[in-house]
């Protein structure tokens, strides 16, 4: 039987003007000795959850639902009884804010206080216990006589931990215990927690926004968004294959998991305030459908002990290729098997990189996926229809492709305006004025000046980087759901390439479209890719999470590809123009 059972917990803060549903129907259970992580960004209701389990919200918020601790429903226990459970059974370690500790009292006194109150032991014994506790959390007992402001952040956090441990609780709730600490101290606290847990067998609820910290400790995780659970399941599974778009965003913006990738947050603001009825994540979601705006999704099991709350059952597949073959005729009745039985899929909103040497068939595959080339056999399906010659290029929300050679991807004779609005001209979309407006918008999007002068420039007079952006603007104007970028930076110099790439990734991040990025340049690819497919001689020889492929390549040819990268480029080197970022590995969760 579970140690702690929380069912349909709701906490609503009543402000003067509105009701803030900080926690909106969360259920969770915790076995004895288990560590469960609660992940979510600022304002997702994590703290409120912790406080309400401790029954510290009485009077501040209206709480409903049940909290059963060891068979006792503590939801409605009278204050004296709950006071007995608090600290002795369930203790909370607060986030290390200065105002948590009383500034005019020595920290020793503050730890001794609950001991005296709950255990009713003599002062002397309490002080001895306190010294022990200090040693347990790695503090010299001499600090007992210090005032809070004399301690460093890490030390104060340890004091708070000692305080929580003072009455020897069974269940610890740790609220953001590491978020204000530096990487080194964070690791010490983590090790300390592991030690304590092993020695005393605490159950823990780890509340944090720090995914790498939580994932290195917890065996299960619960992901909160706007007061609701959006995904839950075993940590390893969630990290390796997140199902909910929000979780994926979190995982992908955690530097310790995606060691090589540049940091890109989840676009948009957290949506806890805007009280619309649908899925709280729909504003920032990469794949919303009609129903997402009208009714909130329920948490549903999706196998392997995992649950996800999404109308589309989690991240949906956008494009799927099945046994695609393509051969080029060669002189003398020979053929070149450029694409040889490729199966792959692309999910909504992800960046899939296809890397491989020249002539490995990447571009041919790209052309097939875009519907420009017709595969000899096999099928490509986009959303729910088959892809055939250009049937997705001429509509909004379809597939767009940007080509390798910037100098031939737009006509020299065309002005920028003509080039960008060409899809509209061809498909007779909008009036001339609307086309002009949309063109300006698209140019702004790719950071080109939307001025009259620039619009009237001939593409032939632009630089390679500018022309590639014009081509990108032409693709963006059709608001694609999937963008295929075929070696778009290979003709550009390093710095321009880096700028175009960052621009592209930025766009992808903001607009939430899925992208297939084709390249032979592994180092650049790693900056933006979520998943990598390695292609060799027409086959996909390896496909997986970018960091997995990078750190643990399975195929020899992949290893060679990675080898060549390290060969002429030291591993921390970044191309000019890419913002360098200091990578401090806090924990080794990536190795799990």
């Amino acid at each position: 039987m579970a140690d702690l059972e929380v069912k349909d917990l709701k906490c609503h803060y009543n402000t003067d003007t509105s009701v803030v549903p900080a926690v909106d129907g969360i259920s969770l259970s915790l076995e004895a000795g288990e560590i469960v992580g609660v992940i979510g960004e600022s304002g997702s209701g994590k703290t409120t959850l912790g406080l309400s389990i401790m029954r510290l919200l009485d009077g501040l918020a209206s709480v409903s639902g049940t909290i059963v601790y060891k068979g006792t429903d503590i939801t409605h226990l009278p204050e004296p009884e709950i006071d007995r459970i608090r600290w002795k059974d369930i203790a909370i370690v607060f986030q290390n804010n200065l105002d948590i500790l009383n500034p005019v009292m020595t920290v020793g006194k503050q730890v001794v206080e609950p001991l005296l109150k709950h255990e009713e032991i003599p002062v002397r014994e309490a002080q001895a216990r306190c010294a022990d506790l200090f040693r347990t959390v790695g503090l010299d007992p001499v600090w007992m006589d210090a005032y809070p402001h004399q301690l460093s952040g890490g030390m104060r956090q340890r004091v708070l931990l000692a305080m929580a441990l003072s009455c020897d609780p069974k269940l610890l709730i740790l609220d953001e215990v590491t978020s204000a600490l530096d990487a080194f101290t964070r690791k010490e606290i983590r090790d300390l927690l592991i030690d304590l847990q092993k020695k005393n067998g605490y159950s823990m609820i780890l509340i944090s926004h720090d995914l790498s910290f939580v994932s290195s400790l917890a065996s299960r995780m619960i992901v909160l968004y706007a007061g609701r659970v959006v995904e839950s399941g075993p940590t390893v599974d969630i990290i390796n294959a997140p199902r909910h778009p929000y979780t994926r965003g979190l995982v992908h913006s955690t530097p310790d998991i995606f060691v090589y990738k540049d940091l890109w947050g989840i676009p948009g603001e957290s949506a806890s305030e805007d009280g619309h009825a649908g899925c709280p994540f729909s504003r920032r979601c990469t794949q919303p459908i009609e129903i997402c705006r009208t009714s909130p999704p329920r948490l549903q099991s999706c196998g392997d002990g995992r649950e996800v709350a999404c109308h589309r059952g989690g991240i949906a597949t956008l494009l799927r290729a099945d046994a695609v073959h393509f051969r080029y005729p060669l002189p003398g009745r020979k053929t070149l098997h450029a694409v040889n039985g490729v199966d792959m899929d692309v999910c909504e909103g992800e960046v899939l990189a296809i890397v491989g040497q020249t002539a490995s068939g990447k571009s041919t595959l790209a052309h097939i996926l875009a519907g420009i080339l017709r595969p000899e056999s096999g099928e490509v399906r986009f959303m729910d229809g088959a892809v055939h010659s250009g049937n997705n290029g001429h509509r909004f929300g379809g597939i767009q492709i940007v080509f390798q050679d910037p100098f031939s991807s737009t006509s020299n004779r065309f002005t920028v305006l003509d080039a960008v609005r060409e899809p509209f001209d061809i498909n007779r979309i909008g009036t001339a004025a609307e086309r002009l407006d949309m063109t300006r918008e698209a140019l702004k999007l790719v950071r080109l000046p939307p001025t009259d002068e620039f619009l009237g420039k001939y593409c032939g007079a632009l630089s390679g980087g500018q022309r590639q952006r014009v081509a990108l603007a032409r693709a963006m104007i059709m608001k694609p759901r999937l963008l295929i970028a075929d070696e778009i930076t290979s003709a550009l110099d390093v710095s321009t390439a880096a700028n175009v790439l960052r621009l592209l990734k930025g766009l992808q991040n903001r607009r939430g479209f899925a992208m297939i990025y084709i390249s032979h340049d592994l180092s650049l690819t790693l900056k933006i890719a979520d998943r990598i497919a390695v292609m060799d001689a027409g086959r996909i020889i390896e496909i997986g999470n970018a960091h997995e492929v990078m750190l643990h390549p399975r195929d020899d040819r992949t290893k060679r590809l990675i080898g060549t990268r390290v060969g002429h480029c030291c591993h921390d080197h970044k191309p000019v123009g890419m913002a360098g970022r200091l990578q401090t590995r806090v924990s080794d969760c990536g190795d799990e």
Partner: protein, 292 residues
């Protein structure tokens, strides 16, 4: 007006403003000759085919350039002759240039069998010695303006066809064509927006050179007596003048032979100037733009 709203007239002025001095002189010359042809009835006092004076009168008040053997006014012959020469030249050039161009574009765009047929025909035509055949065929078909035009067209459409085809092929290989197709562009759209605008300027240069060729060839045929005797082109004037026995021993050549000769030379020079400048203006723009 925003610079992205350029129209054809602006582009024409832009092109002309890049012409060299000779090019501009050429344009003026052509303009004068065209005016001469158009306003021939106003510029000359007499109809060209009417006997209005004595035989072989020297230039004077009545006849500004004198008269020919039959007493017909030379100046009016020159004016009306401009009509004929220009008509033949332009007709041949337009039919051959545009028709050949269209065939070439079609061959290049469609490829396959159509391409084979057109290109083999072009090869054969280019390999044939044109002028001797021209002489033979026109002698065979008999002299008439229509026949002259027909024969000249037959021998001059090959070059534009070939050039249009190779241009179309190279345009077709550009990625922007693939992109446009992917956006759902029809062949008609591709032709209108991508192929014609690239091929037409080149065809235009060719049309000018075919015009000179046709005028020259017509003169040559006329000179050999294979022109239409009822048409008074400058070539026919030369033919009649040079066939006047021992014209060089008389002073007549000064007003009978010189004017059509000078008119022809001026026309051809003007065309050559324009052709050369157009080539320079239209071509390097593309070359320079490609380098960008």
């Amino acid at each position: 007006m925003p610079p992205y709203l350029r129209n054809a007239a602006d582009r024409f002025t832009a092109t002309v403003s890049k012409f060299s001095l000779e090019g501009k002189i050429g344009l003026c010359g052509i303009a004068l000759i065209v005016m001469m042809a158009v306003f021939a009835p106003l510029l000359s006092a007499y109809p060209p085919g009417k006997i209005t004076g004595g035989s072989l009168e020297p230039p004077g008040a009545d006849h500004p350039l004198g008269t020919d053997e039959l007493g017909m006014d030379i100046w009016s012959q020159i004016c009306y002759g401009a009509r004929m020469s220009l008509f033949i030249g332009l007709a041949v050039a337009c039919i051959a240039g545009l028709g050949g161009g269209a065939l070439g574009i079609l061959a290049g765009y469609l490829g396959g069998a159509a391409d084979q047929v057109v290109m083999r025909t072009v090869d054969v035509l280019m390999a044939l010695p044109s002028f001797p055949l021209l002489v033979v065929i026109s002698a065979f078909m008999g002299p008439s303006v229509f026949n002259v035009i027909l024969i000249l067209v037959l021998f001059s459409w090959a070059k534009p066809a070939r050039i249009a085809r190779s241009q179309t092929l190279s345009i077709k290989n550009n990625v922007y064509i693939t992109a446009a197709r992917n956006y759902g562009a029809t062949p008609f759209y591709l032709l209108r927006r991508h192929i014609l605008p690239e091929v037409l300027p080149i065809l235009f240069v060719l049309i000018i050179s075919i015009t000179s060729y046709a005028i020259m060839a017509e003169t040559g045929l006329a000179f050999l007596g294979l022109g239409d005797p009822t048409s008074k082109s400058w070539g026919m004037m030369l033919y009649y003048a040079t066939n006047f026995r021992s014209i060089y021993f008389t002073p007549y050549w000064q007003w009978w032979l010189i004017p059509p000769l000078v008119a022809l030379i001026v026309l051809l020079l003007c065309l050559a100037f324009i052709g050369r400048d157009l080539e320079q203006v239209l071509d390097p723009r593309m070359r320079q733009n490609r380098g960008g």
